[in-house]
């Protein structure tokens, strides 16, 4: 039976090539466009979902207001570096905390003949890969940053500096390149330092808030965190560029934590161990899986997406498919009249209504499948 259906359908297609081509072209272009939009929307909605247990990972951001300076209250993605240590002490709901500080000036990295100003350099706490697990190529990322001279590379960075995927134990020269002012505080901030490759991880996907290729330990005496610590005399508004991420314990109460953070932030200026006197602070938790499409904060590590735009694109994709489908149906209906004799003959020969439906619907499905493949 199917071979009889198939023979009729194939010859009908071949005998009406122009009509079939128009139909297939319209459908395939429509499907291609809709598919591209769908892929883009899916990519945007899936930012940072690749981290294992991403639902338990949050960016802790601040809303700061320095009362006596009358600065406008603004939400910020960044946060004071001193916050992380206090969080672990105060909140048992938090399993782990990590600070991430993109290098403000790209460190200069060299190895043999290969040199580069590395724009993808992040100073991170040793807990980084516990809070945000990533797939390892070599070494154990979760313990890889526990020594001050340790550095973790992505696969791309490993190939860039070593020409291979697993330079475990190899050395890199890293000059933090923080400028002459930093060098006056300590020469280490503007001098090549030897760092050891302690792990290699897979590249971070494009759809991530984090953009990093090289991860240096915050324990280094020449890290951005070290610079922050030794320049305390420059006051609370010195540049820090720090981002604090937390991983919750499974089953922890978000409401309790949010209430606790509100109380923690509404401190008595005389007793705060984090914020200078005269500050009022709001602390906000944003799930990392929702961060990309959340309202933008100041000093964001990477640009935000736009939910409204995604919704509009999705609607356009639906309209494109609907339009292509209507066009397809119209063209097929116009052809159907020419198959009326075949329908009548098959019915007279004993075809049930359902069998005729299967035959002609099957042809339509084959058309659509072919259009999807072409698209």
């Amino acid at each position: 039976m199917l071979s009889n259906y198939f023979a009729a359908a194939l010859r009908d297609l071949l005998r009406n090539r122009v009509h079939a081509a128009i139909n297939l072209f319209g459908l395939s272009v429509g499907f291609a466009a809709a598919l591209l939009i769908a892929l883009y929307v899916h990519d945007q909605l899936g930012y940072d979902h690749f981290f294992a247990g991403y639902r338990h990972v949050f960016l802790l951001s601040e809303t700061e207001n320095m009362v006596d300076r009358r600065l406008p209250e603004q939400p910020m993605d960044s946060s004071f570096p001193d916050l992380a240590a206090n969080l672990r002490a105060h909140f048992p709901q938090i399993a782990d905390v990590v600070r991430v500080m993109p290098a403000s000036d790209p460190p200069h990295i060299s190895r043999g003949q290969v040199e580069a100003d590395e724009t993808g350099f992040l100073w991170v706490d040793p807990s980084f890969f516990r809070v945000m697990p990533l797939k390892s190529v070599a070494g154990d990322p979760k313990t890889a940053l526990t020594t001050p001279d340790s550095v973790v590379l992505t696969r791309t960075a490993a190939r860039k500096y070593f020409g291979r995927d697993d330079p475990l134990g190899e050395l890199l020269k890293v000059n933090p390149a923080m400028g002459s002012a930093a060098a006056r505080v300590s020469a280490a901030f503007n001098t090549p330092q030897t760092m050891r490759v302690t792990a290699i991880i897979e590249d971070l996907p494009e759809n991530s808030y984090l953009k990093g290729e090289v991860f240096g330990s915050s324990l280094a005496a020449y890290s951005g965190f070290a610079h922050y610590d030794v320049t305390a005399d420059q006051g609370p508004f010195r540049n820090n560029g720090n981002y604090t991420f937390i991983r919750l314990r499974p089953g922890a109460s978000m409401q309790q934590l949010r209430q606790g953070l509100t109380a923690f932030a509404a401190h008595d200026s005389d007793t705060s161990t984090v914020y200078p006197p005269g500050f009022t602070v709001g602390l906000r938790l944003t799930p990392i899986g929702d961060l990309h499409l959340s309202p933008p904060g100041a000093y964001s590590m990477s640009p935000r997406g736009d939910r409204g735009l995604l919704a509009a694109l999705a609607a356009i994709a639906v309209l494109i498919v609907a339009s292509a489908s209507f066009n397809f149906v119209a063209l097929m209906t116009a052809r159907a009249a020419k198959r009326a004799i075949e329908t009548g003959v098959r019915k007279a020969a004993g075809a049930l209504r359902s069998q005729l439906i299967v035959q002609f619907l099957g042809e339509a499905v084959v058309h659509v499948a072919l259009a999807m493949v072409l698209g």
């Binding site: 009729a8 019915k347 004993g350």
Partner: protein, 234 residues
Amino acid sequence: MLKLEHVTKIYRTTAVETLALDDVSLSIGRGEFLAIMGPSGCGKSTLLNVLGLVDSPTSGAYWLFGTEVARCSEEELTLHRRAGVGFVFQSFNLIDNLNVAENVEVALIYRRVPRHERRIRVQAALDMVGLAHRAKHMPQQLSGGQQQRVAVARALVSDPKVILADEPTGNLDTANGDAVMDMLRRINAKGTTLIMVTHSEAHAARADRIVRMLDGRLTDGESEDVTAIRTLEV
């Protein structure tokens, strides 16, 4: 074998009501060759459609092979049709996208006949109509007479108890028309009941019996007992 009792068929639209069959009663015996004649629009094709279970009567009873089928559902009618009815149409109605063998095979695929048996029966049917050598040809490559012979092969390949032919020679020249009539007569001689609508007196004369219709009714008193027919046991 086939018996219509006071059958009426009315076609209704929102604007008009058409009485296509008006109180038709007719009995057709097994192996009979019946010709139905009448002017255009008298209800011949409607009568054939009712006999062939393509259409259901509005009222009355229809006994087919001993089963009352006038109130059957569409699916039941299809199953009864599969069991024993073949069709030959005036315009041949071959499916353009199938070759000769595939056209004849259509009558078998809905009867769940296995593939190897289908091939054998299609070959035999084409042999009977003298077109086995054209099995792979498309209908457009055949003459009118040859196309009608393919249609006859399609009608008899399923070994039906009755063949309904609606002006089978209407689109053929004399020679081809006579050839098709010879073929149908041979099939009838083997025991298949044949009911044929025709405008040709010459072809109708080859039937065992002629019934005439006018305005949806049988005329000449032929609606009642059958006379001078070959009556076989049902």
